[in-house]
Each structure stands twice: as C-alpha cells, then as structure tokens.
C-alpha cells in the first residue's frame, strides 16, 4: 500500500502552494519518502492556524493513512476533501484515501461515495475499481457492480462474461443469493459459457442440493472437459453423499489435469481415510502437504489417519501442526 501511495504522490503532486513555504514542502517530501513519523512530528510543530489549513489537514490525513490509522485519517481527509475544489488533485487524492480508509474500516457505503468520486479520474486504478465493485455488491447495487467489473475486465456490461465475473465476485463476498440469478442471466445470454454451470453447481452444493449440484457440474464438464476444478468439486460432492468409490475417478482426473493444486489430493486422502485404506490415505495426504505445507485441513486429516492406525504420537504432532496453522484462532 505504501508503494502505491508513492506512485500517487509522485504522479499527482499536490499543486496547491504551501502557505508556510518550506515547512509544508518538507512534510510532503518526508511523506513521499515514507518517513511518516517524522512528517507527523513536523506537523505537530505547526501552529494551530496552520494545522487547520486544508493542505495540512490533507498531509496529516495522508500520514495517518500511511500508518494504518484509518479512523483518525478520515477526519483530516474529510476536511481536505470538503474544502478542495471539485476536480482538483487534492480533492481526488483525498477522495481516494477516504474511499480506501472507509473500506478498511468496513464502512462500505461511505467508502462507495468517495470511490465513486474518483471514477474515471487518474486516481481510479484497478484496485479502486475492484474496491468500488465490492462495495457496490455489498450494498446490493448488483447492476452497478457488474458495470464496474465489466470496465475493470474490459468486457461489455451486458455480456455473458460480465454476468459471470459479477457472480464470481459475489461468491467471493459470500453473496451467494445474488450470484444465482446473475449466473442464470449469464447462461441466458450464452448457454455454453464456460464456468457458469460450475459456479451454479458449487452454489447448489453449498445449499445442500447435492443432486442438482452434481448435475450442473456434469454439464460443466461436458462443455469444458479440461476444467480441473469441476472434477474436484464433483468428487467432493460425491464425498458429501458418502459415495466414496464414485468420488475417486473425478478427483483423480482433477489431479491429472492439474497436479499443482492440493485440493483434490486432500479430498482424495479423506476418501481413502473413510474407506479405511490408511496406506493410500497417508500417501496422498503427504503428497498434498508437500505442495501445500500450510494446509491445516490436510494436517488434520493426516492426524486422523495416524490416529486410526494407532500411531498416537504422530497423530498428536499432526493435530498440533494443524492447530498452529489455523489463522482464525482469535487472540485472548
């Protein structure tokens, strides 16, 4: 993020002349060089009248943003934004930073206001487009989100691909309920669009409609037979139906198509574990972990293999490794 800011600062030098001459210029230089604490130190030396100037507010907000103090940054940047002329570089940069800060603070409606302000300007990068699209989806502006992502991916807004991309982004944002109609729209435009049936299948499985999910995955495979992920999800769906033998072929195909993804290895290891084939389960899980050493699910399943094999010490170590790797454990 800091590097990105350098780019912005260099590309968009704040043209407004500092009221106090060299002091503000020095602060700006310190910020451009990433010496944020020193810049903030210089700002504290300014008198109150100068501190309240829009440019100083702007620089203060920028410094606080650089330090990750988004809450504090917003107050200063809002002052800079409101007191700058529309279209001015300072206002656009303030809008950019306000959009980012509010996004990081999870204030998505507020972020969207500022990210919309910079739309089409030189501050509107792929990153801000992405964040704007995410904000639009999160506030359920589905159509606006699609247009934003279409622009970002250089697609026609009404194209099947555009609907697909929008749905993919929705799924990433856990907005599955919106993704289904979006994918159906994509298929209405292009019934053979690759990946649409796959995503619909994933969503059906997520909602526990396993039969429909499998049907959709098979449709995807018919349209897109080289798509390793479809085989992976198909195998996984069979495991949810406890159809261990039926799960093995698609998982193997997924691995043969893409041997560099640990997912099907891990599910296949689970299948062998459930079948009581501990030798194969251990072997395949170890292969998965060789390429994806930090996968806690893989370690957790391997621990179960060891446990079933009576290798309690090995099991204990694997359980501990899995626990160490979990990133979602909150700190007391």
């Amino acid at each position: 993020m800091t590097a990105l800011l350098f780019v912005f600062l260099l590309a968009h030098p704040i043209v407004q002349a500092p009221a106090d001459g060299p002091t503000l210029a020095q602060i700006q230089t310190l910020l451009e060089n990433g010496r944020t604490d020193e810049a903030l130190g210089e700002i504290t030396k300014l008198d109150e009248t100068t501190k309240n100037q829009p440019l100083v507010q702007h620089l203060t907000g920028l410094a606080l943003y650089q330090k990750g103090h988004y809450q504090q940054a917003v107050g200063h940047l809002a002052s800079s934004f409101s007191k700058s002329q529309k279209g001015a570089a300072q206002r656009l940069q303030a809008a950019h930073l306000l959009g980012m800060s509010n996004y990081f603070l999870n204030r998505l409606p507020e972020a969207l206001v500022f990210l919309a302000e910079i739309e089409g300007s030189s501050f509107d990068t792929s990153e801000t487009q992405y964040l704007r699209g995410i904000c639009q989806l999160q506030v359920h502006q589905v159509e606006e989100g699609r247009k934003t992502f279409a622009r970002m991916f250089s697609l026609q807004p009404d194209s099947a691909a555009s609907h697909l991309i929008n749905a993919q982004m929705m799924i990433r944002q856990q907005l599955e309920e919106f993704a289904v109609p979006e994918l159906e729209k994509a298929l209405a435009v292009d019934p053979k669009l690759p990946q649409a049936h796959f995503l619909l299948g994933e969503l059906a499985i997520y909602k526990s409609d396993l039969d429909r999910g499998i049907e959709l995955l098979l449709k995807e495979i018919a349209l897109n037979p080289g798509f390793a992920m479809a085989y992976y999800r198909l195998g996984e769906a069979y495991t949810r139906q406890l159809k261990w033998d039926e799960a093995i072929p698609p998982l193997q195909k997924s691995i043969w198509l893409n041997p560099f993804f640990s997912g099907p290895f891990i599910v296949l290891g689970k299948v062998y574990l459930k079948k009581g084939d501990l030798t194969n389960a251990e072997s395949i899980l170890k292969r998965a972990l060789a390429m994806d050493v930090n996968n806690y699910s893989g370690h957790h399943l391997l621990a179960q293999v060891y446990q079933k094999a009576g290798r309690q010490e090995d099991a204990r170590k694997e359980f501990q490794t899995a626990e160490r790797l979990r990133s979602d454990s909150p700190q007391p």
């Binding site: 998505l108 526990s208 179960q304 309690q312 501990q320 979990r326 979602d328 909150p330 007391p332």
Partner: protein, 565 residues
C-alpha cells in the same frame, strides 16, 4: 415412588401406535393454557446493535418444590435503553400445578434480578435435599440457594453469591455453566464458561468495523474481532462456599475460545466427569478430567474440536446421548446458518468421529441453538429436536432466505445410524416460527413422553406437549428414573444408567446443563419400545460405585437412592 393414576391406562395398553410415517409423535402448543404468558425480553426486536442482545438465554425444568412434578424457570435479558424503575423484566419461575398448568411464583421466588442472564444449571450444591440454581449473566453471575420454604410465604430462593465466594470484581460475560462433582468428593462443584470480553463503551456498532457485515447487511459485530475470555472452575469446599481453582485445575489456562454451552460427560468411560464446551467460531473444548483435580483440553486429539475437515464451527447448543446404540455417549452440537450440525460418534477409543453426514445431516439455512437427544417416541432410539433463530433481525428485510424466526427441527432416529427430518410431520406447532435460543426437555405432565419448552426472543416461551402418549393412545413403553445420591452428590449429577433389553443396551448420564444454556428434567427418561420388562439395569453413581437394578417394570417413575453401604 408414586405413579400418577392416569398413567395406569397407558401402562396397561402399552404397545406401539404407528402414524403414517411410523413416527408416533406430534406436538401441541399448550403455552397459553399452561399459563406461560410473559415474554422473555432480550435486546431489540427488529434491530440488534450489539452482540449482547443476540445470544439469548436458556430455560430450565426442575422440581424446585420436591412435589414430583417439573417446574419451569425462564431467564431474562434486558434492553439497551433500559427500563423505568420497577419495570425491568426478570427471571420467571412457574410451579407445576400438576394439572397441565403452571403458577407464576416469580414475585416470591427471590429470583427477581434484572439484567442480561445467559445460562442456568440446577443442582443441590449443599446436599440439603432442595435443588439450587446458578445463573450466568453479563455482569455478576448468581448462586441462588433453595430455602425449601415452599409451603410458606417466605422467599423460595436466597442469593448467596457473595457469601459463597462467587463474586466477581469485574464485568464478565458468563455463558455456559454446569454443576459437577469433578473431584468425586460428594458435593457439587461448578464450572463456568465465559463467552467473550464485552464492553458497551468500546464495542463497535453495526456495520462499523470488521465482522459487522453479513451478506452485505450491516449487523451487530462479533464474536470475531472481540477479545476472548477464559473459563472458571470453582471447587465446593463444603459449608456453602466455593474456591476458585481455575488456574490450578488447568481450566482457566485454555485461551482463545468463545465458550458457550457446557456439558458434563464421561466421554472416555473412566468414571470421572469430563467437560465438553461448545465454542463459537473457535475450536471446542473437551476438558479431560485427569482424576487429580486437574483438567487437560484434549478436544483436538479427541476429534471434538472441529469438523472432520478441521474447520472451526460456530458451536452453540450441545447434547449427549447414545444415538447408535453402541453403549457409548455421543455428542450432537448445533451451529450457525449455512453450516451443518455435528454429530460426534464416540468410538470408545478415547476419540470421536464426525458422523454428521453419515447420519444424514447437511447444511441448513437456520442458526441452530438449543437441542436435545431425546427419545421422543419411546422407541429406544434417541431422536433430535433443535430450535433455531437468526441473530440478525435486520437481514430478512433484504434477504428473504434468512428469516429471523424459524420453525423447529425434528429428526427421527431410524435406528441404523441415520436420522430422518420429520419436522413437517409432527404437527403445526413445530412449524410456528420463532427466534429461539434455549430449550429444555422434560415430561412436565408425567404421562411418559418427553415434552419441550423453548425460549423465544421477545415472545413468551413455547411449551410443546408431546402427544406420543395420550389418554386414548398408549404409545411405546418407557421408564423414568429419579436418582438420589447419598454418598455421591444428592442430585446424582454425573451418574450413568445402563439398561439392558434383549440385545439392546440403553445408556444415559445425568447432567445439569445441555441444549443451549438450559437444564433438562433430571429424571432420566428411557423409551423402551415394546419391551414389557427390563432384563437388567445398573447405576454408576458419580463416585464410581455401581448399583444393580432388579425387577424393573416399564411405564413408571422410579426413585433410586444410592446405597449407603
């Protein structure tokens, strides 16, 4: 033991009545006629700004006045804006009138303590023959001693929290709690879980921080992002006082959990009580009793911390029972929406296997809370009943797929390791939507089948009368055992009963908290199917001694006292 006269007909005609689907259960909502009219206030109705408003409380069935009939306790919350002096809602106690109705005795109960209550555990901590109450709260937890003054105009319970040594210098958010005799010295000790550290002054408001959006809708924040707390263990010193042994026992050393409902179960069959704690969004805890006054969290290696794939789940409610009839106690745990509940099958080798999918469970769109493994049709196989309710009332306005109020879920045990969803086949009362939290199981009308009380957020509770057995329909046979400890704790909490019927062995343990923050009928209820007699029975008392039961006939409530020799 005195068997209610109106049960005689049921006993004489015992047999199996089959509904169309073969599951001979339906429920009737008898809340109003029973007199349970007061709503359980808990936070905002249409909006909940903070997580403190969302979790809700449990309920309890217990025989507080020792008349052989189950009474009711409902816990209360509050509202952020508060209430005028004297208008605040309170815990409510209802005494069973033995005719299907209850008498509200709240004013005389001594439990009139406004605030944010969470969980309840019921047990006779002072072994005086009257069951006492411990209630966790956001704020000061409370120990209420049953004074036994039920035939007087005096208060029934006395708040003895501080003299008992259970005062807390700081505000904590007590969650699950359970009486148990962990050191097997004959008196009840106390385990208390804490959910998280919550301070209204610093808590983020909806949508204003990480973990404050759900499917794009601003909602109350947490638990992720809020600091965790640690759990407590109090040893009963006798004389009505407790000693905090959280650190020395190891209980307080387990960190990083959002602990919720607590369940005591001897998972490894060593005759020492272990503690399982359902944890929200974090690994669950299984405190293994080391038989020396200490505990070790073994949930990870025991396979009871996560899903089978090692994913943390949002543990809310928990129940134990032998669902597959192998004589071992399994664990069922409820979770958040878009997840599946977990059924941990006890392998008998010191660890559990996740049997959820094998048993027929899959993801649901409901947030599930209170639950029980209870033999609703007395066919010897424990069924599963679960209540549900969203924590985000704001969501349904934008996403109809996630209604705030949900129906109950009923799963019939097919006796082959699998369950069948029969929620739509057990009467319309079960379909009525509520935002529920705790629920408790008891045979409140002593007719031989298990009834259910569900807590509903900001509405009166719902009392569901099981119609498996009616005056005109005998239903399957059953047996109910009231255990009275003598050398063990008087409530016999931690006792395990096994009954042999032909090739089947039925097993249950007596615990003082289950479901979600709730406490069930302490009489162990066994469905016996068509069996006309019980071949053999035994009680393993909390101190480990085994007492053989002989010549037991079905369809009665029996009191079994621990032998003193």
């Amino acid at each position: 033991m005195t068997r209610p006269a109106f049960l005689l007909t049921a006993g004489l005609l015992a047999g199996t009545y089959l509904y169309a689907n073969g599951f001979t259960v339906s429920f009737t909502d008898v809340t109003k006629e029973a007199g349970l009219v007061h709503p359980v206030i808990y936070g905002g109705v249409d909006k909940k700004r903070y997580i403190i408003e969302t979790n809700g409380p449990g309920v309890a069935f217990a025989d507080f006045d020792n008349d052989g009939w189950m009474d009711i306790l409902t816990l209360t919350g509050s509202r952020l804006e508060g209430f005028p002096e004297g208008k605040a809602p309170t815990n409510r106690m209802y005494l069973n009138r033995q005719d299907g109705t209850f008498k509200d005795v709240t004013d005389q109960s001594g439990l009139n303590n406004p605030g944010w209550a969470s969980a309840v555990t019921v047990g006779d901590y002072d072994n005086d023959g009257w069951v006492d109450l411990f209630i966790t709260c956001w704020g000061q937890n409370r120990l209420y001693r049953n004074r036994g003054k039920w035939k007087t105009t005096e208060r029934f319970f006395q708040d003895v929290t501080l003299p008992a040594g259970l005062g807390q210098p700081e505000t904590r958010w007590g969650s699950g709690c359970v009486f148990l005799d962990y050191d097997r010295d004959g008196d009840l000790d106390l385990f208390v879980a804490n959910y998280l550290k919550f301070d209204l002054k610093s808590a983020p408001t909806p949508g204003k921080g990480p973990n404050c959006l759900w499917k794009g809708v601003p909602v109350n924040c947490g638990p992720k992002g809020l600091p965790t707390d640690t759990n407590l263990l109090y040893r009963n010193r006798g004389g009505g006082t407790f000693e905090d042994v959280s650190k020395t026992s190891g209980v307080g050393l387990v960190q990083g959990k959002y602990a919720m409902t607590a369940l005591v179960t001897d998972y490894n069959n060593d005759a020492w009580p272990d503690i399982y704690v359902a944890c929200d969004s974090t690994a669950c805890i299984l405190y293994r009793n080391n038989q020396d006054g200490t505990f070790t969290d073994v949930a990870l290696e025991a396979g009871a911390a996560y899903s089978e794939d090692g994913q943390s789940q949002a543990g809310m409610g928990v129940a134990s029972g032998d669902y597959d009839g192998d004589g071992l106690l399994d664990i069922f745990k409820t979770h958040f929406a878009d997840d599946l509940p977990v059924l941990y099958r006890n392998t008998g080798e010191g660890y559990f296997e996740d049997a959820s999918r094998a048993a027929g469970f899959d993801h649901t769109r409901y947030v599930q809370w209170g639950t029980g493994l209870a033999d609703l049709d007395n066919d010897t196989w424990p069924d599963i009943f679960t209540v549900a309710g969203s924590v985000y009332p704001e969501v349904e306005a934008r996403l109809k797929e996630y209604p705030h109020r949900n129906p109950r879920l009923v799963y019939r045990n097919l006796g082959n390791g699998r369950f069948q969803d029969v929620s739509n086949e057990v009467g319309p009362a079960v379909q009525s939507p509520y935002s529920s939290r705790g629920c408790a199981f008891a045979d409140y009308d002593n007719d031989g089948d298990i009834d259910i009380l569900a807590m509903n957020m900001n509405e009166p509770p719902q009392l569901l009368r099981n119609e498996h057995i009616t005056a005109n329909r005998p239903g399957n046979n059953w047996l109910k055992l009231q255990l009275v400890g003598k050398r063990s704790n008087r409530s016999a909490i931690g006792a395990r009963v096994r009954l042999w019927i032909g090739e089947r062995v039925l097993v249950q343990e007596l615990t003082s908290q289950a479901s979600y923050y709730s406490s069930n009928d302490p009489r162990l209820h066994f469905g016996l199917g068509a069996a006309q007699s019980i071949d053999r029975g035994e009680v393993r008392w909390p101190n480990g001694n085994v007492q053989v039961l002989q010549k037991i006939q079905p369809n009665q409530i029996i009191t079994i006292e621990e032998r003193g020799d």
